[in-house]
Subunit: 165 residues, 2 copies
């Protein structure tokens, strides 16, 4: 599938929220209250100091979104953090891996030298597999760091990829 | 040394800033620009969703400060993050370890079940030793995550302690 990826504009938000909302409501992957308001979700997702992207397929369907931002400030700002959501109707097609790889190219273009994920829920096998295919490696695990609505307390992995050539 | 620790009040800020400023200006331990403004430093240090403490010695000198806050939101909010600064004239007396242990007790009282540090600069041997004495363990290392003004790019450790009884 060809992905047409561009920077998210203000006008994209309603479509982006339609992709994010079911994932945030499920409460199984992002560290947000499952009843998060749309306004708080927008503040969380669309970072002033970051970059947001939208990915459409060749039929014009919004199939995924991502954000990039500095993981830390000042002397830690050369490592980026990123997050991804794939639309429910577009899963199982490798879009998460493709989005992650494309976001790494964007991160390099923005001058970042590494990418770090802070909380990959250990029960989220699909995500773990997708990120590994995109070159991300587990560099640490926080025990019982995520309270999953069905599984209970589960570990959260920290993942990293060096982006320097 | 006896430490008298209490919740930071608005009136404490000038004294707190006097302790923080030289550490932030040095740029060797916190992920802030070394020229951070006082206002931005206060926003960084005094978190609306967290807890801030001041520690005085028995002569009335402010010897150290710390913050506690949820490391993540929603299903990740049971793990806290914390930061500490010991006044330059009070170092080498075990205050960092004592502050960390006291903050762990405070974290338990606030309902947190674990404590996580996200960026312990690997060249900061004093801090690493202090946190280890307070039961914190390295659970992962981000390669070259911190641009140290003298050492250059150095690793940053992620540390964790389970706070459940």
């Amino acid at each position: 599938m060809e992905l047409i990826i561009s920077q998210q504009k203000q006008k994209d938000w309603p479509a982006v929220w339609a992709v994010l909302e079911p994932v945030f409501r499920a409460g199984e992957s992002y560290p947000l209250p499952s009843d998060v308001s749309e306004a708080d979700a927008e503040t969380y997702w669309v970072k002033k100091d970051g970059y947001n992207a939208v990915a459409y397929d060749d039929t014009g369907l919004l199939v995924g979104v991502y954000y990039l931002r500095p993981d830390q400030g000042g002397p830690g700002a050369h490592i980026c953090n990123a997050g991804y959501v794939v639309a429910s109707e577009a899963r199982g097609k490798g879009i998460a891996t493709a989005l992650c790889l494309r976001s790494q190219a964007q991160a390099v273009a923005m001058g970042f030298s590494g990418m770090k994920f802070n909380l990959v829920v250990a029960s989220n096998a699909g995500a773990l597999s997708a990120w590994r295919k995109a070159g991300m490696e587990i560099i640490g695990t926080v025990p019982k760091a995520f309270d999953h609505p069905r599984v209970g307390l589960v570990d959260a992995h920290i993942m990293f990829r060096d982006l320097k050539p």
